[in-house]
C-alpha cells in the first residue's frame, strides 16, 4: 500500500495536505498504513508507467538510475513536469516528498538475477 504517514517529513504544509488526503481517501480506498512515504510503491503505481523497470531502464520516459542530472533538476522536473513528456506532480506531492523520490532515484541499482 502507498504509505503516506509523514512523521519523517518536516514540511508542515505538506503534512497538512496529506492528512487531508488520507482522511478523504478512506471512503474510496483502504486507509494507508503508518510508516514513511513508500516511493518504491509509488513507482509501481504511477511513475513506472513511463520509467521502465522501476526507473532502471529507458522507456516512455528516460532511465533514472545513474542519471547525470543534479538533484535540483530532478526535483524541479518532478514538481513542474515537461509539456507533452512528463506530468507535473507539484500539486500531488510536497517538496519533502519529492526529495524522498529523488533520494530513491539516487539509490536505484540494477536488479539481481
Amino acid at each position: 500500500m502507498l504509505k503516506l504517514h509523514l512523521k519523517s517529513l518536516p514540511a508542515v504544509l505538506g503534512a497538512s495536505l496529506l492528512c487531508v488526503v488520507v482522511a478523504r481517501a478512506q471512503s474510496a480506498t483502504p486507509a494507508p498504513d503508518n510508516g514513511s512515504f513508500d516511493v518504491e510503491q509509488l513507482f509501481a503505481g504511477t511513475c513506472g508507467f513511463c520509467h521502465s523497470d522501476g526507473g532502471r531502464a529507458a522507456g516512455r520516459g528516460p532511465q533514472l538510475m545513474n542519471s547525470q542530472r543534479d538533484d535540483e533538476f530532478l526535483h524541479n522536473r518532478i514538481k513542474s513536469g515537461k509539456q507533452g513528456a512528463m506530468p507535473a506532480f507539484g500539486e500531488s506531492f510536497s517538496d519533502a516528498q519529492i526529495d524522498q523520490i529523488v533520494k530513491y532515484i539516487r539509490a536505484l541499482k540494477p536488479r539481481e538475477g
Partner: protein, 572 residues
C-alpha cells in the same frame, strides 16, 4: 469574463464556402452515415459498418505510380504527434490535432475555411500523462463535435466553427482524465467515452443531445448495474478504471450503440490464481475489457460479452472497430481485442468465433472459439515475471488504430504486433486525492518475444475464420490505421514515416512515400470535383510511440514528438 475559446473565421470563408457550396447544404444525418456515400468519410470508422474502406477506384493498382502530394496542412502545437482520423463531408475536410484544435479545410486545396482552438485548462493538462492528443471529431446535423482533455464536449457550427454549445461531462480536476477519443454521432445523440483504464474511476460513457448539448444519459463501465456491482470485491468498484476511450459504432437494426471498454485498475493484479476472491479487485470486474450494447435512447445495457474476465494484463477491449459483415445469410460483428485475438459475434454479441492475429500470446493458452472462455490464464502473484515474459507487451498485440475490411476482396487487413514484457508485480493502493493518479501495480520493461525479434505485420485475413491469405512484415510495429480501397489497394502508414500501398489481393508493394515523420493516426479517402484524394496524418509521440526511440533507436532517435502534418495525395 474569461474567454473560453478562440475561433478564426477567416475572410476566405466566403470564397471557400462557394467552392464547396453544395456541400454544406446537405445535412450529415444518421441515414447518410449509414449509406456512406463514396465521396465522403462521415464518421471515425468511415460508416457505421466500420469498414475503413473507400469504394473509390480512380487511384488504383495500375496508376498508383502517379500518386503524389496534392497539399499539406500543418496544425501546429502537435505535442505527442498527430493521432486523429480526418472526416470529409461534401468536399470539406475536418480534423483535429493536439489540444483539440479543429480545422475545416477545402478538401481539394487545403485552404483553411475555419479553425477552432479551445481554451483549455493548461495546468490540468500539465498533470496528465495520456494527453494532450486528440483522436478525432464527429459530424452531424450541421455541427462538428469534439471532446477535450479537461472533460468537455463541444458542438461547433460546421459552416463557421462557432461554438453552439459546450457541456462539461466529467470532473477532470479530480479524475485527472478527460476525452481524447472521437465522439460518435447517431440518431440525434453524440456519444463519447472517457479515458479510464489504469486511472481509478468508473469510466463513464455519455450520450449528449446533438441539438442542445444537454446530457441524455451516462453509463458507468465499472459496476454500472447491480449485476456488475457484485463482481468487484471489497468495494474495489470505487476505483475500478474502465472507460471507453475509442469510438464504437451504431447498429440501427437493434437501435444500439456498440462500444469497447477499457481495462480495470490496477493494470496488474497480485491475486494469483484466486482472482475471484483475492487481490486488488476480486471478481470478474464487469464491464471492463468488454464489448457492450447500449440502447441509444436510454443508455440501458442490452447485451455484452466480457472478452477478458478479470483482465490482469491490460489487454482491454477499447479498440473501437465493430466490423459489420454478412455471410451466407448471417450477420456478424468483428471486434479485435488488444491481447491479439479477434472476436466474431452475432449482432447481439453472442460469440461465434475467436481467432489469433498475433503469434506471441501467452497471457492465456487459448480462447475457446465457441464460447469465448479463457483457457489456461496466467494470473500473477506479487513478484517477478521474467523467466517466461508476458506476451504481448503492454502496447498490445493489437493497438487502438483501425484495420480495414474490403468487401471486394472479402479480406480484413489488420496490423499485428509481436513483442513481450517482463514485470515485477507489486501491491499498490489507488490514490484518489487531491487528484487521481495512475494505478499500475507493477514495474515493467519491453523485451523481444522468446521466439526472436520484435516485429509488426500487416495481415490479409478472412474476417470470420481468420484464415490468412498474405502477410507483410515490418521491423517495428506500425501504429497507424489501415485503409483499403476499391482500387485494389491497401495503404499502411508505418512508424518510420513511410506510407506504403500494397496490392490488396497479393500484398505486393506497389508504391511508397516518405512523409518525414512517423504515423500513428488515421487515413481516409474521399473525392472532390471528380478527383480522388488520400489523406493521412503524420506525427509521432505518445504512450506507445515514446517507447520506440529507446527500444529501436535508428530513425526514432531524432524523430520529433511534438510535430505533425496532414498530408493529402492525388494523381499527378
Amino acid at each position: 469574463m474569461k474567454k473560453r475559446w478562440r475561433n478564426s473565421g477567416l475572410p476566405l470563408v466566403a470564397g471557400a464556402t462557394l467552392i464547396v457550396s453544395s456541400a454544406l447544404a446537405q445535412t450529415v444525418d444518421t441515414a447518410r452515415i449509414e449509406t456512406a456515400g463514396q465521396n465522403d468519410w462521415l464518421t471515425y470508422h468511415g460508416s457505421y459498418k466500420s469498414h475503413h474502406y473507400s469504394p473509390l477506384a480512380q487511384i488504383n493498382a495500375n496508376n498508383i505510380g502517379n500518386l503524389g502530394v496534392a497539399w499539406t496542412h500543418i496544425p501546429g502545437r502537435s505535442t505527442r504527434g498527430l493521432q486523429s482520423m480526418p472526416l470529409v463531408a461534401d468536399g470539406v475536410l475536418y480534423y483535429s490535432g493536439s489540444y483539440s484544435r479543429v480545422f475545416a479545410l477545402n478538401g481539394a486545396t487545403g485552404e483553411v475555411i475555419w479553425s477552432f482552438f479551445p481554451e483549455l485548462d493548461e495546468a490540468l493538462i500539465s498533470r496528465q500523462t495520456h494527453s494532450p492528443y486528440n483522436r478525432g471529431v464527429a459530424l452531424g446535423e450541421g455541427k462538428v463535435f469534439v471532446g477535450t482533455m479537461d472533460g468537455r464536449l463541444f458542438g461547433l457550427d460546421a459552416k463557421s466553427g462557432k461554438v453552439l454549445w459546450e457541456t462539461r461531462l466529467i470532473d477532470s480536476q479530480k479524475l485527472t482524465v478527460g476525452f481524447t477519443g472521437a465522439p460518435l454521432y447517431a440518431k440525434g445523440s453524440v456519444i463519447i467515452g472517457s479515458q479510464g483504464g489504469e486511472w481509478p474511476g468508473r469510466g463513464p460513457i455519455f450520450a449528449v443531445d446533438a441539438t442542445t448539448g444537454k446530457k441524455k444519459w451516462e453509463f458507468l463501465t465499472v459496476a454500472g448495474t447491480d449485476e456488475a456491482m457484485k463482481t468487484w470485491g471489497n468495494d474495489s468498484w470505487r476505483t475500478g478504471g474502465g472507460g471507453g476511450w475509442m469510438p464504437g459504432t451504431y447498429d440501427s437494426e437493434t437501435n444500439s450503440i456498440l462500444w469497447g471498454t477499457a481495462n480495470p485498475a490496477p493494470l496488474y493484479d497480485w491475486s494469483g490464481a484466486d482472482y475471484k476472491t483475492q487481490g486488488a479487485r476480486p471478481g470478474d470486474n464487469l464491464y471492463t475489457s468488454s464489448v457492450i450494447a447500449l440502447d441509444i435512447d436510454t443508455g440501458k445495457l442490452k447485451s455484452y460479452h466480457q472478452e477478458l474476465p478479470h483482465d490482469a494484463w491490460d489487454f482491454d477491449s477499447a479498440v473501437g472497430e465493430f466490423v459489420m459483415l454478412e455471410r451466407d445469410g448471417q450477420k456478424y460483428v468483428v471486434h479485435p481485442n488488444k491481447g491479439g485475438f479477434v472476436f466474431v459475434y452475432d449482432r447481439n454479441l453472442g460469440v461465434k468465433n475467436v481467432w489469433r492475429l498475433v503469434e506471441n500470446i501467452n497471457f492465456v493458452k487459448d480462447i475457446d472459439p465457441k464460447t469465448g472462455a479463457l483457457i489456461g490464464r496466467r494470473d500473477f502473484p506479487v513478484g517477478k515475471v521474467t523467466e517466461v515474459p508476458l506476451c504481448p507487451f503492454i502496447g498490445g498485440g493489437i493497438s487502438w488504430n483501425a484495420g480495414s475490411y474490403n468487401p471486394k476482396t472479402g479480406l480484413y487487413y489488420k496490423i499485428g504486433q509481436e513483442w513481450c514484457m517482463t514485470l515485477d508485480i507489486q501491491k499498490t493502493t489507488p490514490v484518489t486525492t487531491p487528484q487521481v493518479q495512475l494505478n499500475i501495480g507493477a514495474d515493467f520493461k519491453m523485451v523481444p518475444p522468446p521466439s526472436g525479434e520484435i516485429y509488426g505485420h500487416l495481415d490479409a485475413r478472412d474476417p470470420i475464420t481468420g484464415a490468412k491469405k498474405w502477410e507483410v512484415r515490418f521491423p517495428e510495429p506500425p501504429l497507424g490505421s489501415v485503409l483499403s480501397t476499391a482500387g485494389n489497394l491497401v495503404f499502411v502508414p508505418d512508424s518510420r514515416g513511410i506510407l506504403h500501398a500494397y496490392d490488396a489481393e497479393t500484398g505486393a508493394e506497389l508504391w511508397k512515400h516518405n512523409n518525414g515523420t512517423g504515423h500513428q493516426g488515421g487515413i481516409v479517402s474521399y473525392s472532390v470535383g471528380g478527383k480522388q484524394y488520400i489523406a493521412v496524418t503524420a506525427g509521432f509521440g505518445g504512450m506507445l510511440a515514446d517507447e520506440y526511440a529507446p527500444n529501436f533507436g535508428g530513425v526514432y532517435k531524432s524523430m520529433p514528438r511534438d510535430d505533425g502534418a496532414l498530408v493529402v495525395f492525388s494523381l499527378k
